[in-house]
Homo-oligomer: 314 residues x 2
């Protein structure tokens, strides 16, 4: 029988995953979990695909803002648009979450869900990572795609629970991960049902529905899924509450934390990454029963497109 996790190196982490799935999915196992309760949640940026030098949605925002600036050149002189157009990441970090929200609304709202999906899907078809030269959808992590498939084959229902925009992720998650729109939870603008041209449509409005990060991830799991997952996978402090919530349930649980320690094949970063740092979760992983995954040690391959090599591109 072929190895279902061939992208994972033999070692304690791979063994922990395989034995966890065996014990919850094998009928007759002492810790068997009915299929209906086999819920797994995955963060997206940095957990399922590359988030360096900034999350993919940042590049989408940037391209969209440039297109808006073609129509309205005054945007080029106004923050936070100016920083985005100029690729000035330092200023963007300084401007903080409020700026991000303003950019989100300018590029993600004021249109229907369907219109946004069309724009995002068009962008994914051709947009490439500026340093790595590959389509963003080729920068998903092969070992994680394998893991998702392996969990699915073992009766798990898999959710993405991301700080990224829910409609942005829905635009590629079905093709990239085999995860349908209803299994994507993310940050969201409020929706407004309105009659347009005689039919009811859903308009994305410039008003924050949810910023799906940290404790909000747990709260949105409660709202959307209605029970505690048995497996969670994240890579930053923004995922810590979700990892703890999962791990602290009764019965068999597995919480996994990906550490980006692989500058040769991907990137090496943790507490210094301003957009989404990893510090508390790393320091207290043992206290919370969280299993640390080392990209360098535990993965024998990284990207969906095997040709991608940051060190070669640099």
């Amino acid at each position: 029988m072929p190895d279902p996790l061939s992208g994972w190196n033999t070692g304690p982490v791979k063994s922990a995953i395989l034995s966890f799935v065996d014990k919850v999915a094998l009928p007759g196992s002492a810790e068997f979990v009915p299929a209906a309760d086999r819920i797994a949640v995955f963060d997206n940026d940095g957990t399922l695909w590359c988030e360096q030098p900034m999350p993919v949605q940042g590049f989408f925002l940037s391209d969209r803002v440039k297109q808006l600036a073609l129509k309205d050149p005054s945007l080029k002189e106004r923050q936070p648009f100016k920083a985005f157009i100029e690729g000035d990441h330092k200023t963007l970090h300084e401007l903080g979450k409020q700026a991000l929200q303003e950019l989100m609304f300018a590029t993600h709202a004021g249109m229907t869900e369907r219109e946004f999906a069309t724009i995002a899907q068009g962008w994914f078809a051709s947009a490439k990572h500026p340093q790595l030269g590959a389509l963003f959808t080729q920068l998903t992590y092969r070992p994680q795609i394998e893991l998702i498939g392996y969990l699915r084959d073992n009766g798990f229902k898999i959710y993405v629970v991301s700080g990224g925009g829910v409609d942005f992720i829905r635009a590629f998650a079905a093709e990239a991960y085999g995860i349908p729109p209803e299994q994507v939870i993310g940050s969201s603008a409020k929706l407004k049902a309105e009659v347009r041209d005689g039919r009811i449509d859903l308009l994305k409005v410039a008003d924050l529905g949810s910023f799906d990060d940290r404790e909000a991830k747990v709260e949105n799991i409660g709202l959307h899924i209605g029970r505690r997952p048995i497996l969670a996978f994240g890579n930053s402090d923004g995922d810590l509450a979700m990892l703890r919530y999962t791990r602290e349930g009764r019965g068999p649980r597995l919480a996994l934390l990906l550490h980006h320690d692989d500058p040769e094949r991907e990137f090496a970063y943790d507490r210094a990454f301003k957009i989404s740092p990893l510090a508390e979760a790393l320091d207290h992983a043992d206290d919370y029963g969280i299993t640390c995954v080392s990209m360098r040690r535990d993965w024998n391959t990284v990207f969906a497109d095997r040709r991608v090599r940051p060190s070669a591109a640099a």
Copy 2:
């Protein structure tokens, strides 16, 4: 082959359902819809089970308020608690939605999701309809349970989209309808992730998350499901936006509206029912392409428990 909808009488409505399912689910059909897009949404109160003389959750509220009043007798003199304890429906209607919300928070919030689920499941195990004498879970509609099963067998994913409380419905929907918690959308209190006894838990707080009625049903479908359903079933004006949203999508669509016109076997009511009237949707069903279902004409049986007869009980 046995009739999958044996509780439905032969006629135009049953034919419309059968031919709709055939055309969307049969590979090779000109109007075939991939399984991933076969989303069906059902209202709950009055669509999947009896909502007279008030929605079942009203009885739960009443019983819970009585229990709270045992601990705090001053509640008996304060509205809206007083009206609930005395079964004074007229006053309750007059006090309106604000009163309902206050009662909801008093009985549904200030505890974890898990604690609430335990209370609700305990109640369902023994609570009976005061006039009909059956457990509330025996007052689901047999033809609808059949329809849900028939849709599921044809690859549909079925959601409850209800004005009722999401956690209340989740407490019985898996057993009653075979619908898991993540496929229940409803009104909700906000959730707060908090550390209690060293572990993260989800607390239901006294703050409205969503009142899932009318346009909000469509907005919550967008948030939770992320695409337009192809089949919707409702029974009141509170469902009209959802019925229209479903019906007005491109391709094959079916929107069904149950009319309670059967005083012999259930109840007869529409525009005079203050809690959830049916008027606009009935008057404009033809304009919106909505198919009216007559309980009297189209169903040959009503309740899951066949012995229940309101006319016998009255």
